[in-house]
Amino acid sequence: MQPILRIDLSTGTSEEYKIPEEWERAFLGGASLAARLLYPYLTKELDPFLSEAPLLFLNGPLTGTSGPTVGRFVVCGKGPATGLWAESNCGGFWGPELRFAGYDGLWLTGKAAEPIYLWIEDRRLEVRKAAHLWGKDTYETQEAIKQEINQKGIHVACVGPAAENGILFAGIYCDHGRTAGRTGLGAVMASKNLKAIAVHGNAKLPFVHPDRYATLRSESNRALKQDNEAHIMHEMGTASVANYAEYLGSMPAKYYHQGGFDGVDKVSGATMSDTILTGQSACHACVIACGRVVRLDDGNKRKGPEYETIVSFGSNLLIDDLAEITRLGELCDRYGMDTISTGNTIGLAFYLFEKGIITAQDTSELELKWGNAAVVHELVRMTAFREGIGDLIAQGSKRLGKYFGAEDEAVQVNGLEVAYHDPRGVSGMALSYATSPRGACHNQSDYFFVDFGHIHPEIGIEYFSRQAEAEKAANVARHQDWRTVYNSMVMCIFANVAPQMQVDLINAACGYDWTAEEMMKVGERGWNMKRAVNNKLGLTASNDKLPKALLEPLSTGGTEGFVPDIQAMLHAYYEARGWDEKTGYPTKEKLFALGLEDIAKDLWG
């Protein structure tokens, strides 16, 4: 890989850092490599908003190579909402452009004395003033910086007002609505007075076997174009799964308390395609193009919502109006707030309002009634600017629940709001959420796809019934390892690329001679590395749990009253992982077997 640029924002000084080769080989890149690099610097005492807190943007070895859906980068650090490992990856064009600018990462520490943005072109860094950009939304910021620099081919990653106001689920945004949305790293970026990073470059990307890679790249992209799932994603976006998910009971409704959503046909990806869709948008060199371009009544084209946003502002709040959901998604993107956490936390507010725990006195007289989109618009605005109850919503569901004495009603794990794949419908998500290194997350293991039937027996990912329990624990662990490879590459999980092709691409780009099994071992190492970071930050076995709502049966809908036996599943999972059930740490033996001897000594003494 290319060097990382380490920048001290307090002084404006920078130096190039060469990633140790043995770490590249052991962790591949992206999030796993970031965990290895940041391990010494992330401590339990570290306040993510203090200037010394690191924020690391990292590419993978294939970023920008026009391979199958590999135009992504990841941002990592310590999560302000969770106090744990935080990572969030993002598509668009920014990651590839950073690579073309000559760097595979930016390692930021310190805090600028006043708002700034960074302009990096062909290994040249310029620190520019950004006071005039402070307060602008993410769309305006990108446009303003592009106009200011006035060159073609610039890509800008930035934060919006939500991050400036310290919202704990503020993200980092680029290319109009491509988001590193989860875990609040936008707020960390803003706490450093860093509004944006603009990049452009002309570097030739490093390949060990360029001809071999070019052949494989074409072959894999051709195969992807023929893939059913890719066709479905292209035609209907990620919300294509809405109907099937609702049928299985895995699409949450009414803040995870209602089985089924009658309005699913009004908000699904299929309906979007038939009504407001005008086109598709794609990340760098992606042949799928799952991004939606839609037109609403005002005649303007805009980003259409993906599945998580459709559930977050749709079935979760019992809103069945696709135009309203689209607008709410756009509002969050402009303010720079994660749609999953925003909708989830507002869902908790609605739920507590219904129960009488939150009253109109708490909400500036707003009636938090299910299905009322106008109220949700107002709450989103109040959250971004921390007005009234918005100041509490801005802190996420765990803290909102705690404030009203109802923390156990918050559907979150370790401070990160649960995504919209209900483990009562697809049981593998019980372990995905409970053991994810960044809190309840569907991208560390989108196991719902396996429960839908998407399997890879060639790497040991087999089919189990969608409501099987402990018997699928090892399979979930295997899937997590595989997705950890994705998050290292950094590759989009919507790419249905055969694992052998995946390892062939890595080998051609990096000059390795891995087998698929060796690639999976790299994934397992990365997963355990992140676990070790979290153990160092204080995470124990007691953190591996599900919120109360997900352990209560629903009397209607596709879950058919099923509740996963999370304790039995965790027991089998720990055994499969080689983790100590008492502490929640990877055992010393496991860490040694993965070549993490120094980590073993640090954790176990």
Binding site: Q226, D227, N228, E229, H231, I232, E235, M236, S240, V241, N243, Y244, Y247, D265, S268, G269, A270, T271, S273, D274, F449, F452, G453, H454, I455, Y463, N496
Partner: protein, 136 residues
């Protein structure tokens, strides 16, 4: 009611089953679209084989075994797969969603319509399975 796949007898029996099965009649009540099985040679099947089904509002209005390809040039859906995969689905060894998601079964037609009607598709497969006793 059972038959060997693939055969004209199997297809006729499927037509009867679809028309008689009240669960299918109900779940597929909004379905509008004809369907072609495009079975590619594999295993014991040496020649390509087409089967045509006219499915409409929970009923099967007609079937044709091995029609000429030109007879139904633009059906609403074509399900294309090697013979082995078709039989694996019919014998319950391959989940139909797995077949679709892993591209073992290729789908031509409106994927939006298909995704909206997954319960109908799954119930159609149930009916196919229930009449299949054996394969050639």
């Amino acid at each position: 009611m059972s038959a060997v796949f693939p055969s004209a007898g199997w297809l006729n029996l499927l037509e009867e089953k679809l028309n008689a099965d009240s669960h299918y009649n109900n779940i597929a009540k909004n379905w509008e679209g004809d369907l072609v099985f495009d079975i590619q040679p594999a295993g014991t099947l040496t020649q390509p084989l087409l089967m045509y089904l006219d499915l409409w509002h929970g009923k099967c209005r007609g079937v044709e075994y091995a029609p000429e390809p030109a007879k139904h040039p633009k059906p609403t859906f074509i399900l294309r797969s090697p013979y082995d995969n078709f039989t694996a689905i019919l014998l319950g060894k391959l989940d139909p969603m797995t077949a679709m998601m892993t591209s073992k079964l290729k789908v031509e037609g409106s994927l939006a319509y298909m995704m909206r009607n997954v319960p109908t598709v799954l119930d159609f497969v149930r009916c196919c399975r229930e009449i299949t006793t054996d394969i050639l």
